[in-house]
């Protein structure tokens, strides 16, 4: 038996890319990685960012590398295709591709292998595609470089490839430039160019980050089909739920080292390492409601006095039949918000979920009175709000505040944290310093941040400052516009915990806008599902996520990747 296996392994030559996986393909790993260490030496210091990583990648299998920013997962992936970065020193006990030692590849050999036998899908499709070239030409370029066919057959192949990855109207799309395509289409065009030459291995670095759920589901489905065709897949992601479906084997990386690795089914359901457990626990979903996502992180300082709010005097924010139309450049009109109504009850969270372009952000801006609705009205605490003149509204703006996705751009770059927060304080505040200290305590920051610039702080710290600023005027309503979307899972978990704590302590109402159903279902009491500017479904969170009625909601909930 073993003799048979060894002969079949020995027979396997360096045959050209083939879609059908033979018995030999299944046993001999495409990639064999043992003790891979990558460093960027500086001043005699090895500066290793990847330490001692080992795994096998077989045909028709998917190895997922999961970790947060700075864990070394992307450097690992890039090293596999011979692009570890400038000044990198790569050491490994073994690093072989189909039995050949990759460390001895010349740049010329790499160019031969890359594209033809190893396809690469990079994270940011907008940056990775040439903005001046139609995507079809970009994909044809990959074919041309490897001497594939003539011009006409290449053109036909490009259209075929785009159709394969689910791009509608591929012939027209091939003639368009990246900026004319949506994020999902761009990402699929990148995948098309990665699989153009039918490579045996595809390395996908965060292929679905920044994509809407349903588009993400399509991209994942395409990767799944590739896997079924016998392609070996390396999937890099910060999101465990994304890799859960696809991965056969998962490596969890942290600070350059693999903290845990194993078959996906085992690792996801029975994680051993504390970090893996924490990562899995940090993913918000309907099941995590009322539970802390980052239990090992200390709670923020409790607020001195319990907020005493009027018990029940109706909804704090009422939006009635608002409609907003934008004029598009080059003629045409876009109805961004179409007859949307909702109530936000005091001390509760209303989640607005929808994909990009669904009008959820415009709805939030109308609620904030940053945008004037064409018709309809928003009322704050039962009084006129959106219909007021700005001068009349100004003194009441303190009743409402906002936290954005990218806090850095919402801070004046010339200002320190201290000045940013002082600027947001109620003018009636007498003891500025005490109030600042209280705010920082509420969001769990040290006093020393006051003298620092947000630019020099981490993403989580910046978001905490944005939250502190939003709390500074003791508002009734805080609009959270994708407030945690740009954060790593564990940081996101901490911020979500913080928001839940603050709501409980201060009785604030949240208008939570997100494309992430996990976040919405974890936080919201009521949910509004928006599509093309209109509300397609509304109801208590449990209803929406357990018994979605509208077809679109069902599609969204169905597309939601989950851990386990």
């Amino acid at each position: 038996m073993s003799a048979l296996t060894s002969t079949s392994t020995a027979v396997e030559p360096a045959e050209p890319a083939s879609a059908d996986a033979t018995a030999a393909d299944a046993t001999a790993p495409r990639f064999r990685v043992r003790g891979l260490t990558v460093g960027f030496p500086r001043d005699g210091d090895a500066n290793d960012v990847v330490r001692d990583v080992s795994f096998d990648l077989r045909a028709g299998e998917c190895v997922a590398i999961v970790g947060e920013s700075g864990s070394g997962k992307s450097v690992t992936a890039r090293t596999l295709v011979g692009l570890p970065g400038r000044g990198a020193s790569v050491r490994a006990d073994e690093l072989s591709f189909d039995g050949d030692d990759v460390q001895r590849f010349t740049p010329g050999r790499w160019r031969e292998v890359r594209g033809r036998r190893i396809g690469v899908v990079l994270q940011d499709a907008l940056v990775s595609l040439d903005p001046l070239r139609p995507v079809g030409r970009e994909i044809a370029e990959a074919l041309r470089l490897h001497g594939w066919g003539d011009r006409r057959s290449r053109r036909a192949k490009v259209v075929e490839l785009l159709a394969t990855v689910g791009v509608p109207a591929p012939e027209q799309r091939a003639r368009q430039r990246p900026d004319q395509l949506s994020g999902g289409l761009r990402q699929r065009a990148l995948i098309a160019s990665a699989i153009a030459l039918d490579p045996e291995v595809v390395i996908a670095d965060e292929p679905t980050t920044a994509l809407d759920v349903s588009v993400q589901a399509q991209v994942l489905a395409e990767l799944e089909r590739m896997k079924a065709r016998g392609v070996a897949l390396v999937l890099i992601s910060h999101d465990l739920s994304v890799v859960a479906h696809l991965a056969d084997h998962i490596l969890v990386m942290r600070d350059g080292a693999v903290v845990e690795s194993g078959p996906a089914s085992v690792l996801l359901h029975d994680p051993h390492h504390a970090y893996t457990k924490r990562l899995i626990a940090a993913v918000p979903s309907a099941r995590t409601r009322g539970r802390r996502l980052a239990p090992d992180v200390a709670r923020a300082e409790p607020v001195r006095e319990q907020a005493s709010r009027p018990a029940d005097d109706g909804p704090v924010l009422e939006v009635r039949n608002v409609t907003k139309t934008f004029r598009l450049p080059g003629g045409g009109r876009l109805r961004a918000v179409d007859d949307v109504s909702f109530d936000l009850a005091r001390g509760t969270t209303l989640g607005i979920v929808g994909e990009s372009g669904s009008g959820k952000t415009t709805t939030g801006r109308i609620a904030l009175a940053l945008e004037r609705p064409d018709s309809g009205e928003a009322r704050l605490s039962g009084q006129p709000w959106s219909s007021l003149r700005e001068t009349a509204r100004r003194h009441r703006r303190r009743r409402m505040s906002v936290v954005y996705q990218d806090p850095l751009s919402s801070f004046d770059p010339r200002w320190t944290t201290g000045r940013i927060l002082r600027d947001a304080l109620d003018p009636a505040t007498t003891d500025h310093h005490a109030r600042l200290r209280e705010l920082l305590g509420q969001v769990g920051l040290e006093e020393s941040v006051l003298g620092r610039f947000p630019l020099h702080m981490s993403g989580g710290q910046r978001q905490r400052i944005a939250i502190a600023r939003a709390l500074a005027s003791a508002p009734d309503v805080v609009v959270l516009d994708e407030a945690v979307s740009a954060l790593d899972v564990s940081i996101q978990a901490q911020i979500l915990d913080l928001l839940v704590d603050l709501q409980r302590q201060l009785g604030i109402s949240y208008l939570l806008i997100s494309h992430d159903l996990g976040v919405i279902s974890h936080m919201s009491d009521h949910v509004l599902v928006m599509r093309d500017g209109a509300v397609v479904e509304r109801g208590p969170a449990a209803e929406i996520f357990e018994r979605p009625r509208h077809a679109y909601t069902r599609q969204l909930v169905g597309a939601l990747p989950t851990v386990g």
Binding site: D43, K73, M400, F411, D412, P413
Partner: protein, 313 residues
């Protein structure tokens, strides 16, 4: 995933150099983050700083020439010596002598004041006008903004020198005319920059955040929009001074600048023109001085800009 290497923010050695050539004053606000530098980067930085130090020393020398020309030369810029016309540069006459035997070095040193007053004045006029027009074009009511924009475009359509010539033709040649002609002629370019900066600041997230906090419009304009829009202009001003001197020199060279007895550098160029083949130093020496000055202000300007764009300060 890039390896996070915080770009260190360093203090420009402007204060340490003590040169303080006016322009250095703004650079001392950099955040004092001490960072251990790696060797190759340290060398690169040292080279870059050598350029800055050289530029600052140049500016300091020119400042001395403006304030105390006597400290740099004992010679008189107007003393003629008909025994020594058109002598080539030597130990006794560093830049040689002109057709009347006047020492060219003394003339260049004494000409610094006029040259820089004209250059700096023109830059101030250009930037001042640009601030006014650019802000109007970005913040004014719809029709005010539209009209201002058209005005900027019309003036922009003229080549700078042609616009300056037109003004000189109307006002007659003099130092003041030169200042205004060059300043007005080159303002539209800067006005476009100001407009862009103001629009960018106006549409920024922090302005929206300030609106949301309920701050009045005027306060937002003064606290957020203008300071952020003007920040890059500090550096642009330093760059402009050098350019303005070159523009002003070209007016003087055409004989449309200051009157002959003055030894403004452009006027020196003009005066040397007839002797180009016989005594080329008459053109080369003042020409080089203009180039060196423009280089120095440009270098300092670039450093200022880099420093200010780091986000702090």
């Amino acid at each position: 995933m890039t390896v996070a290497t915080d770009r260190p923010v360093t203090e420009a050695p402007a204060a340490a150099g003590g040169a303080g050539a006016g322009t250095g004053a703004g650079t001392t606000g950099g955040s004092p983050v001490a960072v251990a530098l790696t060797r190759p980067r340290r060398r690169r930085r040292a080279l870059r700083h050598a350029g800055l130090v050289l530029a600052l020393v140049t500016l300091a020398l020119i400042l001395v020439a403006i304030l105390f020309p006597g400290a740099l030369t004992s010679g008189s810029p107007t003393a003629t010596n008909l025994d020594e016309p058109l002598r080539s540069p030597s130990w006794s006459h560093w830049f040689g002598t002109d057709e009347s035997g006047r020492d060219l070095y003394a003339r260049v040193v004494h000409g610094a004041r006029d040259s820089l007053l004209i250059g700096g004045g023109a830059a101030a006029v250009a930037i001042g006008l640009a601030l006014l027009l650019g802000s109007l074009a970005a913040l004014g009511h719809r029709w005010v903004a539209g009209a201002t924009n058209r005005l900027i475009e019309v003036v922009f359509a003229f080549p700078t020198l042609l616009a300056a010539l037109l003004l000189v033709a109307v006002l007659g040649p003099s130092a003041w005319t030169q200042v205004f002609a060059v300043g007005i002629g080159s303002s539209p370019g800067y006005a476009r920059i100001v407009r862009g900066q103001v629009l960018a600041a106006k549409g920024s997230g922090y302005v929206e955040a300030a609106v949301e906090l309920g701050h009045p419009r005027r306060r937002i304009l003064l606290r957020h929009v203008m300071p952020n829009a003007v920040r890059p202009l500090v550096a642009i001003f330093a760059l402009a001074v050098g350019q303005m001197i070159v523009w002003a020199s070209s007016l003087s060279f055409l004989g449309l600048g200051v009157a002959p007895p003055s030894s403004e550098w452009g006027a020196l160029l003009d005066a040397g023109r007839p002797y180009v083949t016989r005594a080329s130093w008459l053109i080369i020496a003042p020409g080089l001085v203009i180039v060196v000055l423009a280089l120095a202000t440009t270098t300092v300007g670039k450093h200022l800009r880099n420093l200010l764009e780091r986000g702090s300060a």
